[in-house]
Structure formats: structure tokens, C-alpha cells
Symmetry: D2
């Protein structure tokens, strides 16, 4: 890239998973809105056709209403072509297909184990990690080879283990992981301020201290100007602990299906147990707690007013997105530039020197959370400035929460180590400890082997051992 007065030009972004019909379109929209940047986005995907479609879609955007900058999109055939010379690398991949995810999420149901998401933790998250981590190693090595100074932004789940694998593979990598679940919780606080106090605040005005691991993140401070939001939240949690927040059970922060929504009852229960604000959707939070708390069976889930997201829904949704892709490619539908509310582009701007930013990211623990293991990937706020991302000292996890989150961080270290060693038995040691997996050892073994068998084509590297 180069500077032209106060504008960063010829910015080179490599998008790994560039055939995506979700995140990629969001990024395109946000880039088009950034008037002080322009450049090229190289789209790399194992599904080249999908990348080519996004090339077509992307190159039309400059002409859409609201486009403030010009970006060129190029689908490329190799990861090297995408990365060579990159300033930024975006990783947003699906590890395997929804068939593998179907096994991750639903095979455990045979054994009486229910998962609301199944992509982060629990048996599904662990098997997904086995597929994903080797892919992250490939990407990290390619970054090391082609663009060692690029900033790498990961959106792929399981977030924690992905970022950890990037750093273990190439320790000098300048990578971080982004997730919007904390934003969603800021919005819950916004909603509270409005409903209970009649105050209209922007999300950005809700200043929070973020501490934890991705999808099991906690707020230990939430402040609006000179108002401490904790006493308000306590009253709010007590008021709605039984009923949940009185809103239509309408989609949460990402998608628009009932399968993603929640009425914050899990969040409130956790607050009443521990005194801090759990900062992710209830579907994610539930998966980090002992299985009999919120995920015992579908009835329990219904009582808690969140949902088990079936993979069948994801498959159906994909069809709709494919159809939309066709319409965008053919020109039948016109791309609309909307602010996604994601911060990826603002993070890039800050890294270019176009305005400091403090926001939450996933990074190896250098001490920003003193009572979690060093190097484990944790989620806290960080200061983004020119060519620099530095986590702020988030402080220790509250004593009462440490047993829960510390356990998660420790388990994820075992998962990463096991996967990078391609050592099934090491991974199994995490699997037997997972709080959703509460079975006798022989049943755990049976479930583990069945899940591996069903996703075998992605796990051939583990067969050596």
C-alpha cells in the first residue's frame, strides 16, 4: 500500500474463504463505505467458483449508491497468489461442509448430549477443532512464506483454538480473532438503558471491560458516561430471570431465525450466580457450563428460552444464500451497502494509522488476564494503532468465575496441543473432561470414535498414531 495525502491506497487484502456468502459480503459493504482506503481484495477459496462469483459481485459494488471508495476484487487459484504482498489477511472458512457439522452437532444427541451451536466447545467443537487446526497451520505457514508482516484477522470458529494454532505455527504472526458476541451484549445493555431509564445510548458509548475466552467472555465493568451499569443490570436480571427480556423471540445479533435468538435467561442466571455479566449469546454460554445446567435436554433448553440450532436449518439457509449469490452475479439483485456493525474495516483503518480504536479481540495471553495461562488465547479489549494491536490489561477474572473460565482455557490448550500433534489420544483427554460430556469412559470412547468416523475424510492425518 501507499499513502496519497491522507488516504491509504493500493491496500492489499487477501480473503481466505473468499467464496463466502455471508462474511465476505459484509466486508465488501464495509470496505465500500470507507472513504479513506482503497485497493484490491484477493479472493481465495477451495471452491474457486464461489470465489469467482464473489469477484463479480464485488466488482459491481463501486457503482452502487453509497460506495465511497473503489475496490477491485480478484479470485485467485492459489493461496500464494492471494497472500503475496498482502497488507491484511482475512480468514473466514468453513472447516468441512455442513455434513460434518451435522455429525458434530447431532451425533452426540444419540448419547443424550445436546448442543445449541456445536462449533466452539463440547464434543462438536472439539471434533471441529480437529478438522480446523490443520487448516490453520497451512494458512499460518503460507502467511510466513508470503506475507509475514501482514495483519491476519480470523473470523473462523472455534475461534480460540484457531488463533492459538496460528501463533503456535508461526509465533511472529500478527494475527487476532474477531467476534461480535460482545457487541451483542453491549446491545442488551443499550436495550436495558432504554427500557429501564429511557436513555438512548449508542453501542460505542457502552464502555465495557472484557475478560474471558471467546464465547464465554465476561464483563467486569460496564459504564455509560458516569453511570455504573452493574446495579441496573442486577435489578434487570432479577426482574426478568423467570420470563426473560420481554421482547419478541426474534433473532439475535447475526441471523434472523428463531434458532439464534434468546431471551437472556441464561445470561441472567449466570449473573445471579456469579455477579458478572456473561457477554455472549445464551446459546454459546450454555455450552461452557456443566451439561445438566442448561442443556440437559430439549425441554430444559426451551425453559431457558434459547434454542438448539439444527444443522438442517443451516443447510436450508445456505440454499437461500446460494440463490442470492446467483441473483447478485446475474445482476437480478443489486448489492446494498449497509453498515454491518462489524469492526473489521475500522480495525484495518486503525492499523493503517487512520484513527486509534479500542475494541475487543482474541489474542494470546501476555498477561492481560493475569489469572489465565500465558499464551492461551483470551478475549479482552485491545488498542489498535498504526501497525499495532496491544491488549489492554483487563485484570484478573473474578475469583468466583475463575473456576469456570480457567477450566475452559486449560481444556482448549489440550485440544490445540493434541490437534497439532495429530494425537487423537491427547485430544481425547480434553474430550473426557468437557462439561457437556458426562458419560462413563467407554461410552465417551464410543461417541468419540463414531464422531471421528463420520468426519473421517477430514481427519486422515490423525490416523498415523
Amino acid at each position: 500500500m501507499n499513502w496519497n495525502q491522507n488516504k491509504a491506497e493500493n491496500v492489499h487484502i487477501a480473503y481466505i474463504g473468499g467464496g463466502s456468502r455471508g462474511w465476505a459480503w459484509g466486508l465488501m459493504s464495509d470496505l465500500a463505505s470507507a472513504e479513506d482506503m482503497s485497493g484490491t481484495v484477493y479472493l481465495y477459496d477451495i471452491d474457486l467458483k464461489a470465489a469467482k462469483n464473489n469477484e463479480i459481485i464485488g466488482n459491481r459494488i463501486r457503482d452502487v449508491e453509497g460506495a465511497k471508495s473503489v475496490w477491485e476484487y480478484k479470485a485467485v487459484e492459489t493461496i500464494g497468489e492471494a497472500l503475496c504482498g498482502a497488507d491484511f489477511v482475512v480468514i473466514s472458512i468453513l472447516p468441512g461442509t455442513f455434513d460434518e457439522m451435522e455429525s458434530d452437532v447431532h451425533t452426540p444427541e444419540k448419547y443424550g448430549i445436546y448442543q445449541s451451536v456445536g462449533d466452539t466447545s463440547g464434543p462438536g467443537g472439539i471434533i471441529r477443532a480437529m478438522r480446523t487446526i490443520p487448516m490453520m497451520e497451512v494458512i499460518a505457514k503460507a502467511v510466513q512464506e508470503y506475507c509475514p508482516n501482514a495483519w491476519v484477522i480470523n473470523y473462523t470458529n472455534p475461534m480460540t483454538v484457531c488463533v492459538r494454532a496460528l501463533y503456535k505455527t508461526f509465533p511472529q504472526i500478527k494475527a487476532f480473532g474477531c467476534c461480535h458476541e460482545v457487541f451483542g451484549t453491549q446491545k442488551v445493555l443499550q436495550e436495558m438503558l432504554k427500557n429501564e431509564c429511557g436513555i438512548e445510548a449508542t453501542r460505542d458509548e457502552i464502555k465495557v471491560n472484557v475478560v474471558g475466552v471467546n464465547h464465554f467472555t465476561w464483563l467486569t465493568k460496564a459504564q455509560y458516561r458516569n453511570t455504573d451499569l452493574f446495579p441496573l443490570y442486577k435489578a434487570y436480571a432479577e426482574k426478568y430471570r423467570e420470563t426473560g427480556v420481554p421482547r419478541a423471540h426474534e433473532g439475535n445479533w447475526v441471523s434472523s431465525s428463531d434458532y439464534f435468538g434468546c431471551l437472556e435467561k441464561v445470561k441472567f442466571d449466570l449473573f445471579l450466580r456469579y455477579g458478572a455479566i456473561a457477554a455472549a449469546g445464551d446459546r454459546h454460554l450454555a455450552e461452557f457450563c456443566p451439561g445438566d445446567w442448561y442443556l440437559k435436554d430439549p425441554e430444559t433448553v426451551a425453559d431457558w428460552k434459547f434454542a438448539l440450532t439444527p444443522v438442517s436449518w443451516r443447510k436450508e439457509d445456505l440454499k437461500n444464500r446460494l440463490a442470492r449469490s446467483q441473483r447478485l452475479v446475474s445482476g437480478e439483485e443489486t448489492f446494498k451497502i449497509n453498515n454491518t456493525g462489524e469492526e473489521g474495516v475500522n480495525q484495518m483503518r486503525a492499523l493503517l494509522g487512520l484513527g486509534d480504536l479500542v475494541t475487543n479481540v482474541n489474542l494470546p495471553n501476555m498477561g492481560q488476564i493475569p489469572n489465565l495461562p500465558l499464551e492461551a488465547v483470551v478475549e479482552t479489549n485491545a488498542a489498535f494503532r498504526a501497525d499495532s494491536v496491544q491488549p489492554v490489561m483487563a485484570g484478573a477474572l473474578p475469583e468466583a468465575i475463575l473456576p469456570l473460565v480457567g477450566r475452559v482455557a486449560a481444556e482448549q490448550e489440550v485440544i490445540v496441543s493434541g490437534c497439532m500433534n495429530r494425537d487423537k489420544e491427547e485430544v481425547f483427554r480434553a474430550f473426557v473432561s468437557d462439561p457437556l460430556v458426562r458419560l462413563p469412559l467407554n461410552e465417551i470412547r464410543a461417541m468419540f470414535e463414531e464422531m471421528i468416523e463420520k468426519t473421517r475424510s477430514y481427519l486422515t492425518e490423525y490416523e498415523r498414531a
Copy 2:
């Protein structure tokens, strides 16, 4: 004390809980066998009569066969009389009576929660901690006032939180906690060496690296001369995982009832899950694991071939010991000097400069286990030398075990903090997280309040809040 050539004379030992009819007699026996020490043991007990009886019993021992040194026993009416000028302080108390313990252990059964011991962790251990910690504070303050340089040896449970409370109250205290569960595990290894290899080794020749928290301690190395015992143990665990060790279901290392025995199946299951040797009796180990693993219900316990120790048995046993005390006082029965296998007296000898010793103790973590929290009380080996106990660097808990043990250490920090603050709600935050307590929040609250109500007379200091 003073030195007379190579003998330590006028050693002053204060025994808090000096009316004990178990540990006290064992100490008397071991002291009588130590030919290079002599002195006075001051017996302090809230049951003065019991202490007086032990004075009579103790003062007879010097004339018994096998007595190699002379010790004087004196029951005293105040803790100050016992402590003033002490070289050593032994703490071995029962916090409350067996009525309170009955509530600790059996009230949770109403809620479907079973405990095999109920004095360390789980709901029973936590409520017991609430009673015990204020007593430890009293003792620590008295030590600070009367004998700040004395070495303080604690045998009281819950060990971890007792030792932590001593140090939090008087940070310069020279205290440590002793427990024989690791010795029991060394004996399992001795038995294995004999059964499987025909080798007769002494317990002391089985060198182990100890790492963990009391009653949930792990061995990461076990060596007999140049033989690494881990491969042997792995085969042993696999051989007997279903049946348990083929021995009569006869008492374990302390007592002689079926209620204390186990066939090591839990130990073997944990080895097969995690690859390290859990080093305590199965009854203790089970209580640190999620409740549905080994303690789901009495049938599960029976399958795992250990036992739920009913407090009714302890009450019956106490009657027998009281009767024996009467016989010893009256002279009807003669005291027998036996080596108890405990190490308290050898530890005292080492502290006096009578021979270095390396053995396991409970001490605040100064880094001997780098991946557990600093200051939390942990169990490792330590070097005992003249006026010095220094833990050895035990090394990190294995990654796969960290999620389990780290959770325990973190929970116990919350318990100690809550108890020292006399803050029921803070204690409750540990209570809701305990892996044996897996109930909805309102049921946990009901159980917690019922357990407190039933032991109310010992918990009046918590009522302020």
C-alpha cells in the same frame, strides 16, 4: 528447647485438639520412639476432660516397652498456656460435632447428592469450611501472640482451606499441613511391585513427584531405583479397571472398616482418562469429579467399589474410642507403641536439625506448581531441614489435568475468601460451582440454607451480613 550433645531436650509441643482419641495417641507413640528428642506436650482441647485423660494416658507411656524417650503431658485450660514458648504446634481438631458432620454429609442426599467423605469439598466440605475457618483464624492469632516462631502442623480437614486461612490470618506463620493419602498411594505402588514383579520395596523407596491439592493430588513421576513405575501402572490399571485390585475389600490406610476401603477403580479410571496417578483414596478422589461420574447414586458407588462413609458409623466408632480411652486411663488396657507410619515426628526431627527429609506437605503456592494460582495451598514434596521447610519445584500440572485441579484450587480460594469475610453470598458462589452440586439455582439455594440452618450454632458470625 535446648541441645544436649546430639539430643534435643525440653522440646515444647502444643497440641490443639489434645483430647483427640486417634491422632493424639499416634503422636504419643511416635514421640516415644524418637530417642533423640524429649520434652513436654501441652494438651489443649475445648473438652478439657478429654485432654486430662490424654495427660494420664501420655504420662504412662514412658514406662511402656519400646519407649526410648521421656515426654511429659500436661492438659491446660487455655490455648495461651499451651502455646506460650512452643517449638511446635499440632492442630488436630473436629470442627463441631458429628451431628454437624451428619448434616454436612447426609442433608444433600435429600437433594440427590451423595458424598463419600464430605469433609473436604462438595457441599459438606464447604459448610464444614464455614465452621472451621473461623477456628483457624483464632488459632493463627494465638500463634502470632504466643509463639510466632513455632512450627505449626495442621492435620484438620478441610486441609487446603485450613492452611490457607492460617496464612491469610498470620502471613509469617511457619505452618504446613500433613496428610497420609499420598503414602497410601505409595503403598498401592508397593503392592503392585510385589504382585506384578515380585519386588519387595519399602514405601520410602517409591520416590514420587507429588502435584495437586490435598485429596486430589497427582503423581507425575513414580520411580523405584532405576525403574519408571508408570508403564507398570498403566498395565496394572488396564488389567484391573473392571474388577479393581484383587484384594479383600479390607480397610484402607487409616481405619479398619469397610466404609473406608476401595479397590482403586476410580484411581485406575482417572489414570486411563488422564495418564497420571491420582494419589488419594478413591472416596476422596470421587468428590472432586463431576457428580455424575462416580457419585451419581449409591449403586454407582457400589459399581466403583468404594463406599459412602455414613456418619452413623463415625458416631459408633467414637463410642468405641471413648471406651478405649477409659480403659487406658484406668489402666485396664496398656498403651502399645507402634510405628504409625505417619511422618509428623520425623518432620519435627528434621526441623530441629536431626536429619534432612523430603516428603509431601500442603503449603501456599510460591510457584512450586507454576500453573496453579500463587498463594493457593497446594500439595507437593518439600525439603525439611533445620528450621526450614521448602517446597521443591514440583513442576506444572499436566495439561490434561489442569482443567480439573485448577478448578478446585480456584474454588477453594473463593471458599476461604468468603469464610474469612463471613460473607455467605461469597461462599455461595463457590457452592453453586461445585461439581457435586448440579441443581437449578433455586434448589441449590434451598439446600445451602438448610445446611446452614442445621449447623447454625457454629455459624452465628455469618449472620451479620
Copy 3:
């Protein structure tokens, strides 16, 4: 304070040392320029008359050209009146008079020891710490009593030990220390960019990573947009190592005398030795290095092109400032609103929620510099947001610099401990190690006692020992 739309009103600032004729006027100027804040500044000073004069001066400013907000100034007779209800506390005091400082700086010259500033480190800094720390304890206790939630901004030297004493006295204090020496170094980089590359950048655009202790701070990264400034700086240091920067030897960043200027030769020498940018004026840097490097004798100092600031100059300068104060009070001179370049007011704005800010401050080490001792006060960047200051993870000091800076941090811990214990001998253990004090033990003792004797009236509390 309270909010009125987007403006913070009734902000209460307590100024300790409110009779100041330097910093206080600067703050007045910056406050007058802040259009989104207004309120009252309570001026407390042991010299009440001086505070009263500043009340008069301050209350006139609202009518001066450029005043964008109204602030009321009130001189008060007790610290409690100043602090009660404060939102912010500013500490800017002179510990003792310039007579004491004259002894600090010039007594060591009798022993062959030269100091360029004498207020931070070295014999002068240590004796000054002995005077200052007890004052900081008084202030911290008053903050605890009157305004425990206020934000406390310290400008007093020795900065590191002052901030440490505030936290040791009242651990929950929300205090930080501000210093402009890093800004001065950013300006050196600005000047370099302009001279060597013809680029005009603002100070704020020079993004630096700050790591070290106050006045011996280092930059491990300096970035302007996408330009890494280190290679440039290396060439610059080599180019001007002998001559210094070719500029008139005109004052440095604060004052306007030859006694404060430098031509950066020390800074360049340190860069060529260690490869990182020392970020303070050369007068300060020199005092942390072994005495024979830059401060051997006045000739050596002249060679290095910085200056020994005589206290006689400070006394003369004070006279001028007093005269100016009289003119401002009498109305003979009109106050001018100028941007001082200090960040105190912007920090306050960020703490009120009026815009996030990342800048350098002095705070206890929570791990932001992993290889300096925890709790020692260190200087790094921090994120300022609503009611929150969180240091960013600055990363480890470079290996080659650690021996120097680690030594300083360790020495300052001894100083603070010794002063807070009012233990002269403990302070003396730091004194004998200071790199400027290179004398036989008996001479060190003589100098130490002489310096204490000469400032005795401020050190009576140390006489007990």
C-alpha cells in the same frame, strides 16, 4: 458532576499544590479551552496566599479571549475542603523548598558526584523521596477519606516512588502519574522526519510503544503511518553522535533556559549501545547510568552537550514567576490561553466519557511490562475511557536494556519500602547501590548523613529508628 446533554458540568477538581506558578497556570489554560466541561477547581496549598493569588488569576480567565468554558477557582484552607466530593485530584507539589533541593543537588558535588537534575534518582532523588513519600501518604489517606472514587493525577517528582506510595497507602486509589518527557522524544522524531525526509507530522501521529520507568523510558517501536522510524533513527544517531542534533542549544520542552536543553547525544549513545530509543531528556537519562558514563564531571557533561541545572537558577526563576504572579493578580498582565501540549485535560475528558485516548502514564505494573516486577510503578501507554485507565500490554523490555531498567525498578522498590517504613537504613541500602554513588562505604555513609542533616526539618519522622 452531572451531564447536561453532551457536556460534563459541575466537574470538581481538587488541586493539591494549588499555589503553583507553573503547572497550575497551564492547567487553567487547558481547562479554559475545553468546551465540553465546566466546574470548580479547589486550590489547596500549604502556602495559602499563593493559592489565593491563583484563585484571583483563575477566576479572571473566563473573560479572556479564547475561553470556551467557565471554571470557578476557590482557594481552600484544608485538604479536606478541596477533596470532598472531588471528581479529579491533581497533585503538583514541591517537597520542601529550593533550599532542600540545593542540598540534594549540590551536596554530593563535595564528594565528586554530579547530578543534572537531582529530583528523580541518584543521591538527590533518594533524599527527595524521603521528604516526598510521607507527604504522598498523607494525600492518599485524605483521598481515601474524602473522595475514594476520584481520579488522582500526579505530576510531582520523583514520579515513580510517588505513585507507588499512593498505591501502597491506599491500594484502591485510582491514581496515575503524568510526565511529558515522552512527548519531548516524539518531538525529536518529528524533527527528524522533517529534517531528514521533509515530512511534516503531528506529534500525535508519531505512534510509539513506551516501556520503562519514568525518566528512563524507552521506545521499542516508533511508527508514522506505514513507516517504521527505527531505521531512520539509527542513521540519525550515527550521523549526529558526535555533534548532536544541529540546532541552537535552545531550551527543551518545558522551560526556556540553557540549563534544560540538550543536543540528544546521550540519547544517541544509548541507541547505539542498546538499539532502542531512550525517551526522556538527556539530563534525566544520564542520571540512571553509571556515574562515569555521562556525569563524571562538568567537563564530561559539556562534552555530551547537556547541562547540570543549578538550583540557583531555579531560585532565580522562581523570583520571576512570583513577579509574574503579582502582575497577573494585580491585572497588570493579562493571562493568555495557550495550548500547553500537556494531556491532563484530555485525560480528564476521556475519563468522563468524552472521547477515548491512548497515551503514556505511570502505573503499578500489573504485567504490562512482563519482565519488570509486579506492582513496581512503570511507564507505558494506557487506554483512557469512561472511568477507566488500563495500561496496554507494552511487552517485555528488550533483553539488552533489562539489566539497566530492571535495576532501577528494583532500587526504587527499596526506596519506597524504606521511606514508608521510615527506616533510614533500608533507604541506605538503595543509596549504596545507586550507580551515581560510587564511593567506599564510609564515604557513602558520610554523604548520606550530611544530606539528611541538611534537610533534617523535613525528615523528623525518620529519627525514631
Copy 4:
């Protein structure tokens, strides 16, 4: 090796530097005295002839009076022959010849810098490190290849950086470094007990807590039975601070020349400055302090009553030892078995399971000294047991000493890193900071280059850069 009842037979020891005419003979003597061990010692040396001579000498010892066990000695031509199958590896080499050492010690004298030993720290120690570390890397790699489970005992100086290089090269190495300087200090305490109190204690009865880095080690506790030796030592230091200990200026603990002795004046001065006992010979201690304290010039050294050991003496002494070697080989002189007082053989016995031992060693810091950097090599006590060496938690360096020792540890990390990277400039960054090197940068550079030039044949690997 194998066990035959209670005896360890066929123990295989590899001696790297097996042509040694000092340490090797001591080891031979101690091995001959150990009745519960026997085996073979493989002697490897770049001077094969010297090793062959030692083979002859060693094989005669079994017949000498006092020999209690039979050891076979074999000179071998390759390091692989020595290491293959080894249980223990002893490293005791001279890096280069005394010609190189002559440059290390005496070249700096041209620049006004005096060194009393010149093999550990200071300019001589640093250049010696440059020669030695590459040799340690070769040895560590050979251990990894031929005997990864062997215990490796290093005696070579500079101790700290040697052990660090072994671990950095092969992190799983089971290595430690042994040094007798602490024993010497225990003997000073023995002597004190005898002279001042009339008590005869053995060295082993003086229990000390060791904390620091090799040759700059400190005792923070010294206990004889129930006597704290610190108050005695304080009086002793004050009594003899001027005169030194009233003993003939006769050799210290190793050799028998005036060039090795001292009257403990440096030790006493350091105690009076810092309140802890410096535990090495004064010649070593002086080299870690700022150069103008004890090593300013030969007169200063004479005042402090220790000596600058000239390398010419070492050359002369070598001649004598060569002559003695000839007499031992020819049979003209008979080998005498004497207890050397070294602990190497007892350490081996403990590692074999023949008796636990607590003694001081040099090992990477795992937290045994919490305020020194992790992984830096430090000296503390450790527990030796079967196949295990575990440092005891020595505790933090006293605050007043931390600035001195922390600086050393940090400097040595730079040296090791620079040498292992073969990066002269990185080494130079340590060189410029060394407290003996107090010169302007250009003179430091000249001295550094001259010292390298004079020892160039051993430093060819550094020429690449």
C-alpha cells in the same frame, strides 16, 4: 547400569574433558571411595594423549589403599563412544588454552580494567563465553543423540551461561551445574562458629538457603541446629571489616596459592551494605560489582586483601600438574585416595536411588527464585532423589540485592542469546553494560575487538555476521 542387591553396577560415566589433571583425579578418588557403585568411566578429550594418561592412572586406583570399588577407565577417540549408553556425563573442559585466557584476563588491563578471575563475568568472562557456548551446543546435541536420558553434570565456567546453553540447545536435557564456592562459604561460617563460639560443626550441619547466580550467590538464611547464624555473622563482619579474618593469607578452598586466597573483606563489606551473606570467594564476588568498588586498580585489590590471579601462574601450575601426571603414569608416584569434599559422586548416588540429598546446584529458573527471570540459570538448593533433581523454592532475592543480581541474570541472558546466534553485536550489548567495563563507547569497542582478535581462532563462527 543394573542393580545387584543394593549396589549399582555397570554404571556408565562419560567424562568430557577426560584428560583433565585436576577435576578428573578428584572424581577418580571419590568414585573409588563409593562402595555401593561400580562401572566404567569413558574419558573423552580433544587431547587424546591426556585422556590415555588418565586411563592408565585411573585403572591403577582400584589397587590403591582405601579403594572400595572397582572402576574401569577407557580413553575413547570420539564423543559418541563416550556418550553412547551413558548414565552420567561429566563436563569439565577448558575452552581454549591458557593463551586465550591470558588475553581474556590481561588485555583489559591495557584499558585500565582489572579482573581477579576473568572466567565468569566481566570482559574476560564474556569473551570466554563466546568460545565456550558453541562447545556446549556440540555437547548438548551429542547428548541428545547418544544418551538423552543421561544426567549431565557441568563443572565448566562460565557456569551460568554453559548450563543455559545446554538447555537452550536440548531443552529436555537432564543437566545441572556444580560449584563449590558455597561450600567455601559454609566453611567460613564453620570457622566463625569455632572461633567465636567454640562450637565444632561439620560443613553439612551448616544449613544454608542459597539464592543467586553462580559466583554471585547469596545466603538468606544460615542455621546451625537452633542457632540463627546471621546475628553472629553481623558481629563477625563488623569486627573484621577492616582487617579481614585473622588467618594466614593461605589459599582458599581449591588451590594452594596466594593467588586464590582472601580474607573475606569483600564478603563483609557486601554484608554491611546489604544484610545478606555473599557466598563465593571474594575474587568472584568483586567481579560482579561496579568496577570502582573493589577492582579499581591493583592497590585497591590489595587493600581488600584478595588477589588478581595472573594467568602466568596458571601456566606454571599446569606444568607442575603435567609433571605429576607423568609420575602417576610412570608409577613413580602413587595415587592417593582423599575425600575431595566435592559432592559430584554423592549426587550420582542420590540420582541412582542411594540416598536423598539436598545441596546447591545451577539450574534454569522455574520459579525457585521468583524475582529472577524464568529460564535464566540460577543457583539454589535442590533435592536429589532417584532419577530426579528438583530445586527447592529458595524464595525471592532480598529487595536490596535484587538490583545487583537481577542485573547479572539479565546480562547473562543477553550473552547466551548473542553467542547462540553467533551475533557479535548482540554480545557487545552485554559487554557495554558490564559493570567492570566503564569506558566510552569507542574504547569499549576497541577493547572488544582486540580481545576477539587475540582469540580469533576460537571465534571463527562469529565472523559470518
